[in-house]
């Protein structure tokens, strides 16, 4: 087991998990009860207290913290995910079902390999399911031999949950390969036309807005900076591409609404504590009111935990029309 761990690390240095403490809910608000990462980390590599610390030597890079932290504190797999997704899309044009593999398994065949599958959160899976329309296989068959093999069950659970939330057809596009003999690996062969199609699509998808990046800020580790968790960004990209009916299924199950009681006095403290920028000072020079955009809200609950008047409620589901626009918080 130890051997595999080390192998994985040696092969995929880039996958090292980094911590952005400015995003951690417990760091932004002393005493806020979140221990998601500590609970989810099977290696016990994460400790919270005076600081949030990830012990790189203990970490097995299973990426579960990356996919579970509500605030996007860990960004192990972020840099390459769009590239991985667009490659899967391109492969789908010449293969009936491309294979996504794990770089910790050098002997297994795959068309594209990424870090340990633990990073595939609900949001990642939804994104892939919607954008890789021709479907693909996730090769989990090797997990039995790996110290991080527990991620297999997590991926299964996540995909089941997505299917149960009104996306059964879409979720089916992702085929989980659980046993050796279920794998359907095809070699890539290009005929002339196919080659040019691939080339064209490659250029298209590279310029596609999928690849646009958020502006980089100079003060990247500042608590005051508003950052949308990467997983939220993925969901928003999916949402923008959906029909109205599909949108509802997504917004009611994966988006949030912040409401206020009448005792909210528009002091705007919550605007500061919100890590994502989902709350802002609304328009109105004389008496501006608190405004909210669901597309930017991760549902972390920090604002409601912080409000001195206990005015704020964070509820699952967004029921109005446009999650992308800011509108006055409902009282």
């Amino acid at each position: 087991m130890i051997r595999e761990r080390l192998l994985h690390k040696a092969l995929d240095r880039d996958a090292a998990v980094t911590v952005d403490r400015s995003r951690c809910l417990g760091m932004r608000l002393d005493g806020f009860a979140c221990a998601t990462c500590v609970d989810v980390c099977p290696a016990g590599a994460i400790t919270t207290g005076d600081d949030i610390v990830l012990d790189a030597d203990t970490c097995t890079q299973c990426m579960l913290c990356v996919s579970e932290c509500p605030s996007g504190c860990f960004n192990g797999s972020k840099p390459d995910f769009y590239a991985l997704a667009s490659k899967l899309m391109r492969l789908g044009r010449s293969l009936s079902s491309p294979v996504l593999g794990c770089s910790g398994m050098p002997d297994r065949k795959a068309h594209i390999k990424g870090p340990c599958f633990g990073y595939l959160s609900y949001e990642h899976l939804i994104f892939l399911a919607f954008f890789v329309k021709d479907g693909f296989q996730v090769d989990l068959a090797g997990c039995v031999d790996c110290g991080n093999g527990f991620v297999k069950e997590r991926i299964k659970e996540r995909l089941d949950r997505i299917a149960s939330y009104a996306f059964p057809g879409v979720a089916k596009r992702i085929i989980l390969v659980l046993h050796e003999d279920e794998l359907d690996y095809q070699d890539i062969t290009y005929d002339r036309r196919g080659f040019f199609t691939v080339l064209k699509n490659a250029t298209l998808s590279r310029t596609a807005d999928l690849l646009d990046r958020q502006d980089k800020d100079v003060f990247s580790s500042a608590y005051s900076e508003k950052k949308l968790p990467f997983r939220r960004e993925l969901l928003n990209k999916v949402l923008s591409s959906l029909s109205d009916k599909e949108r509802k299924a997504l917004t009611t199950n994966f988006y949030y609404t912040v409401g206020a009681d009448n005792n909210c006095d528009d002091c705007f403290s919550c605007v500061g504590i919100c890590p994502t920028g989902a709350l802002k000072v609304g328009p109105g020079e004389a008496s501006p009111r608190l405004a909210f955009s669901s597309a930017l809200c991760s549902g972390c609950g920090l604002c409601s935990g912080f409000c001195i008047n206990g005015s704020l409620r964070v509820e699952k589901g967004f029921w109005e029309d446009d999650p992308f626009s800011f509108s006055a918080v409902r009282r």
Binding site: S22, L29, D51, Y223, S224, C270, G272, I273, K280, F306
Partner: protein, 265 residues
């Protein structure tokens, strides 16, 4: 460990405002806007009586670097963005501040909106989220078109923002603060660390401001407090702490009260 504090001699102070200007240039604070003062060193002016029998008093004010600092207690982040240094300075860390303004609400000498509060000053100021600090020097508009330079042009020619910026490096705060955080007097710790006095103290032409170690009986501040009765401010409306009242245990003291009087002769 020293315990820094300040004593202001009101009979020496001529109310000239040199300290306030000095602080603005040293710490690159911007102009007042949107209920924020951005004057780390500011004034309370008190007028009493009816013309022609009037009294006038000016009191320079700044962060009191309180021993029981409520701003520190209110700060929610970990480690606190507002904290006490071992030598008694109430320090602010720019990187950890989330701009919730809880400190401004907790501090008796601050207001989230001085205009609405009808307050005389606020020792804490807030740079709006997503706003721009030093908007004047980012504005392209000329005061007199095709005649005067715009703020943006001045900044461009001077090559800094603001043009008169004093560049200093400190591990906790930047010489020009970013948007979305609060800012306040830090007793010019970047100078104090190098054995210099705060800039307001150095630039006072009347030598009315004394800065030093309150825990050292031989220091100028301690001697001044021993020689004279002193008072401390209670809030940002200009009220004083009564005898026996502790308040937040402010570490800025005022000695030798002074009022200019106009009398009918």
């Amino acid at each position: 460990m020293p315990k820094y504090g300040m004593v202001i001699d009101l009979q020496k102070c001529v109310g000239c405002g040199a300290c306030a200007i000095a602080c603005k240039t040293e710490n690159n604070t911007q102009d007042r806007a949107d209920g924020q003062r951005f004057n780390w060193a500011d004034f309370v002016y008190k007028e009493e009586g009816k013309f022609p029998n009037v009294k006038f008093a000016a009191m320079p004010v700044l962060c009191n670097h309180c021993t029981d600092a409520p701003c520190v207690k209110a700060c929610p982040v970990k480690p606190k963005a507002m904290f006490k240094t071992p030598d008694g300075i109430t320090m602010h860390n720019d990187e950890r501040c989330i701009g919730c303004q809880r400190c401004q609400k907790a501090c008796p000498y601050s207001s989230t909106d001085v205009d609405k509060d009808k307050a005389a000053y606020s020792v804490l100021s807030f740079n709006a989220h997503g706003g721009t600090t030093h908007p004047f020097y980012k504005d392209e508009k000329e005061l007199i078109k095709d005649c005067t330079a715009s703020g943006a042009q001045v900044a461009k020619v001077a090559g800094d923002m603001p043009p008169h910026r004093t560049l200093y490096k400190h591990p906790e705060y930047e010489s020009v603060r970013r948007s979305g955080i609060t800012e306040k007097c830090i007793f010019c710790e970047h100078r104090v660390k190098n054995g210099e006095q705060p800039y307001c103290v150095v630039s006072c032409p009347a030598k009315a401001r004394i800065f030093g170690d309150l825990s050292d009986p031989g220091s100028d501040v301690s001697k001044a407090l021993k020689a004279h009765n002193s008072v401390q401010l209670k809030n940002n409306k200009g009220e004083l702490l009564k005898a026996g009242e502790k308040g937040t245990k402010p570490n800025v003291y005022y000695i030798r009260s002074y009022k200019a009087e106009a009398k009918k002769v």
